[in-house]
Symmetry: C2
Subunit: 293 residues, 2 copies
């Protein structure tokens, strides 16, 4: 039976725009022009007969309905890709490497570098699955993943890639008081210990005037901070550009190294396979380069 469905390219543009909060950034990720992505967003809005974004100051803020839709659709696309690549892996012609990635780390750190791997390994077909937790990656049976944690991943071999430093940031338009406790403390669900860790490192043991809402998307949190909702402790890697550009300030104290970091993980029984070893070797080389930067 013929279904009523938007094009997959349309859905991927939708997903990327929500993820980046900017059409231009989404276009970069997808290797399309800003114009193509803008049109796809318009196409989807026309198709579903409602606006999916509030246009505000040259940015697109997703509606609640749009976020709900994305939450249900995104895993479907992941699974569809998984199954397609599984089908392909049964053909014996290519090796498929199932790779799990954290969305923001994948977008901002790995994707710009991944061309280096694919160019050197035409025999390895990558299937990239996004997940937020170790549990996500286990459930998806990935061959290898970049996970965030403390290095202990039961049943998996892990290789340390890099630490994460975190720091509280605020919007320049809303910064008035140097006392970090005077602001609302916005929470990241993927970094539950961010605020306690940073405050402990500064030897601050008082409580904030207010605990703010919890969010799971870094980009959304960055937008919330810039809008003046409060202060968030975020990974330096993800706010570096905004700090440099002055869109955010980090006036409360230095970045500290978080208790967790990024690890390459692979199930014990797969860790010595050729494809996993190839990816591991390449990635460890890349992170050494990063350290030398």
């Amino acid at each position: 039976m013929k279904r009523k469905l938007p094009a997959l390219a349309t859905l991927e543009c939708f997903e990327a725009v929500i993820h980046h909060g900017l059409v231009t950034r989404a276009a970069e990720e997808l290797n399309l022009t800003q114009s193509a992505v803008s049109r796809q967003i318009s196409n989807l809005e026309a198709y579903v007969q409602q606006p999916l974004f509030v246009r505000r100051r040259k940015r697109l803020m997703p509606t609640d309905a749009a976020l709900r839709y994305l939450r249900s659709v995104s895993p479907l696309l992941d699974t569809l890709e998984t199954e397609t690549l599984r089908l392909m892996s049964s053909s014996t012609e290519n090796q498929v490497l199932m790779l799990g990635l954290l969305p923001t780390f994948g977008s901002r750190w790995l994707m710009p570098r991944l061309g280096g791997f694919t160019e050197g390994h035409h025999d390895i077909q990558l299937n990239i699955l996004t997940g937020l937790t170790f549990e996500d990656f286990k459930r998806a049976n990935v061959d290898v993943a970049i996970a965030y944690g403390n290095g202990n991943f039961a049943g998996y071999q892990s290789f340390h890639l890099m630490n994460e430093t975190i720091q509280p940031v605020i919007s320049p338009d809303h910064y008035a008081n140097p006392d970090v406790l005077s602001y609302e403390h916005l929470q990241m669900s993927t970094r539950p210990s961010a605020w306690p860790d940073w405050l402990a490192a500064q030897k601050i043991d008082a409580k904030p005037s207010k605990i703010g809402p919890t969010m799971g998307h870094f980009t959304m949190m960055i937008e919330a901070v810039r809008s003046g909702l409060g202060v968030a402790v975020l990974p330096s890697m993800y706010v570096k550009d905004d700090l440099k550009a002055g869109r955010l300030l980090a006036p409360f104290g230095p970045a500290v190294t978080s208790r967790n970091g990024y690890y390459l993980i692979s199930p014990d029984h797969l860790a010595s396979s050729k494809k996993v070893a190839a990816f591991k070797d390449w990635l460890l080389t890349e992170t050494q380069k990063k350290k030398a930067d």
Copy 2:
């Protein structure tokens, strides 16, 4: 992140060809030409780099890998449509009716008639989900469904549409012995009581010489029978054309009315909504027409 995915139109062609076993039939269902569907199959095979069908006597027999892929992908497409129509239904412009259908009943009975409903109700947008069981429809939260059963669907109002008659059929090329027990009895997983019911109605209480494999797709079963794998007890509605054309024989005895039938069902709390009532009224009228045929 950009994924590796075949086009949705491609997947729908793939699904329809497996379902019908014939490119020409699939094309009719999708309102495309045979040529377009044939190309999409070739496109998909090229994309996944392996044949998905064995070409045999102008027919396409799906490989095991193809069947596995379809089983995982088809519900994803259903859910994607559901979520898309849910998004659309939140726009207050159209009413969306979530309709659950059995695949073969939907294809062969309802789709040819459904234009009558849509033409008379431009304000109601149909979202059609396929399922095999009442549990499937419950899980998908349909507004209304056509289900097969005995009329008892807990928490749902049901309206009897039609009975089902069943009869054993065989390929003319393989018919030699009038004793139905001398053949391998092929089983339908959606009709577990078909053989016992038919044999009981003929007052036959002996066992067959062999129980054959179980299948879930009527079209596939029909093909298996025609290939000489054995005898299957199938709904008369689904073998009527093959019998008329002589592609199948029903030499063992008359069709009997099965203990189950087709019902229109709707959750108690939705059964009096305007859209459900509109569909129910139309469908009951259609089945009265059918009885008058």
